[in-house]
Symmetry: C2
Amino acid sequence: VSKYAPLADYLRAQSLDSVKLGFAQIDMLVNGLPPSARNHDAWWANSRTDDTHSWAHQWIAAGWECGSLDRANETVVFQRILAGLESRVQCFWWVNHKQTFKSEFEGGYIWSPKTNKNGARNRTYDNLTQVKAGDVVVSFADGKIKAIGVTKQHCSEALKPEEFGSAGANWADRGWLVPIEWTALSSPISPKIHIARIQPLLPNKNSPLQANGNGNQGCYLAAISSELGRLVLDVASKINPDLVQSIQDLKQLVEADFVENEIQVSEVIPETEKGQLIRSRRGQGIFRLRALAIESRCRITGVEDQNFLIASHIKPWKDCANDERLDGCNGLMLAPHIDKLFDRGWISFSDNGDLLSVPAAEQVMAAWSVDLKKNVGKFSLGQCRYLEHHRNKVFKGSIEARS
Amino acid sequence: VSKYAPLADYLRAQSLDSVKLGFAQIDMLVNGLPPSARNHDAWWANSRTDDTHSWAHQWIAAGWECGSLDRANETVVFQRILAGLESRVQCFWWVNHKQTFKSEFEGGYIWSPKTNKNGARNRTYDNLTQVKAGDVVVSFADGKIKAIGVTKQHCSEALKPEEFGSAGANWADRGWLVPIEWTALSSPISPKIHIARIQPLLPNKNSPLQANGNGNQGCYLAAISSELGRLVLDVASKINPDLVQSIQDLKQLVEADFVENEIQVSEVIPETEKGQLIRSRRGQGIFRLRALAIESRCRITGVEDQNFLIASHIKPWKDCANDERLDGCNGLMLAPHIDKLFDRGWISFSDNGDLLSVPAAEQVMAAWSVDLKKNVGKFSLGQCRYLEHHRNKVFKGSIEARS
């Protein structure tokens, strides 16, 4: 057991999201802080990757980060790493793959060595350690943006991928890897064509592009502003109409995976409840049984055979409190295609059962013979509470109306 | 590192499913077998649970079991634990929950202490350690069979569930837990009504029922014959028509989870390929991109918008070799409800594109406005190879024709 485990346990036991500790308190918990904790800010860095910094791994694994430090007065504030990605700023990144595009695109990752050949640090390699799950990455190679990705996890140490072959011959074997779910652009974009709009938004240091729109040789992974990120998404989605939804789906998947992991490692939730919470994400277990007790058929297609129905959460699983995840009133039994329409917010329902839909989904609904004018019958008070959330936060109709 | 790791590594490196080893060979691998290996059969037992038997955990973790032993001639045959559940005998079990039914049903598990109160072993507790993933469990409480379950994993050590409360006051805290995915019977069955058929099939020792059909107090988990297991399924499915499909779905889910875990822990598959193989199970990653390059729309509903389509394996993911899991020719882009029909074998296609279906699915297909007489267009040679597998092994039409 690590010397710092008692500090991690102490943080885990907190009920609030922030706690201020005196060094003397921590001395007692861990049987004495080392001198460097009193002498150097760097001791308190939230490092996920530096092996010589294992105490930080302990508090990060417990779900906490060191938020602010006052060495003069010997106090430190720890803050809980908040679940859900909405609670933090989403970052945009730009990767120049060069000759490793195919490997990294097909493999679903980006990889860099830790340092330059001469052992010097390279900011655009170090950047991999700053990536968090749910960030958006613009993929650039051969003069074109060919894909946009969503990062699935933060960085980990990894050996150089074998598939790099001779393309990676000059790089050290040990490096950083960030797993990424890519969406290919069916129509790639040439930044040169849009350089007048892009150029003013390029960063001054470590820019991924030169002012003329050519790639910047020395730059692997660059941090870009959200203005530039949104500009790229905007340009790309005009000629790749599926892109925005696809990125959104990926982000939601990453977010739900994040929540599932939090449940998995929780030391508060009993094991048997963990299993039910995780099974409920797939519409299984006790959640399904409870939903079935309330809804026996698909409200739209009328199918009653359970084998063809999905137990779908009205309020999305990832946004629920744990009791809401298992509440039968938060479930509808839907045919798989209706579940897809409902889950992604293309359709919703009024409390009295009128089907609501957005124009963008009408073509698909017609192809699937879903009647736009249907009333599916009233909902109970318990269901209406969740439906209100669905209409306000999931249904694209109200989201479009707001924007 | 365990002394026995080299034996496990040796087994992992085998290409065949069976290997005969002399004790002398193993001596060399592990730097000398202990005397008990030469003197006692029990040393070679494939124990998953006995902590003092850690060498067996090594070879089991490597995916191997000790198959037969010839101590006189100092040889032993190891056999690979075959992936997929078809390759091994499925076992039926019967659990008498008594007062813990609600906890165990809702929690999705069975739990027993390791021994009786007086410390004596109890065969019907020991039985929990014999359960394997994919076994079928009959759940009996209050005089009725109320649920049938499929075991998700083998047994592990677990503390007594808190939710037992006073019902478990007399049991020791440490025990065995087997996670189970239950299907509730909407119409529970009273064994007493069927006792004339059940009684002759009851085991002589450790029977879950008395001859009159009452539960047997001393018995928690009983092994029952496949004849009795099938009789229960048969009786239950007559008044619970969804049951058979539901059990079948659960078994396939467990099987796919098993395969996914094998990929996850493999020491042969490179990390980046593991990610792609696992993502392909959900129709994501490189498999989706490759399928999209071949099929741009849903063959049945004509929908082209990728956001509404699932990349579905023609030959089921769990039954594929790794290259087949990522082969674009093994993918169809299908609307979610068509994916469900195809994936579960309610429909299939002839090589020239005629839609095949089974009468049992016609009502659902009508509710979903799926045209039974459709021709969806020819398939390529590469696709036909997988379609043949689908028609022969997945499509219920041919399975019904054979049985």
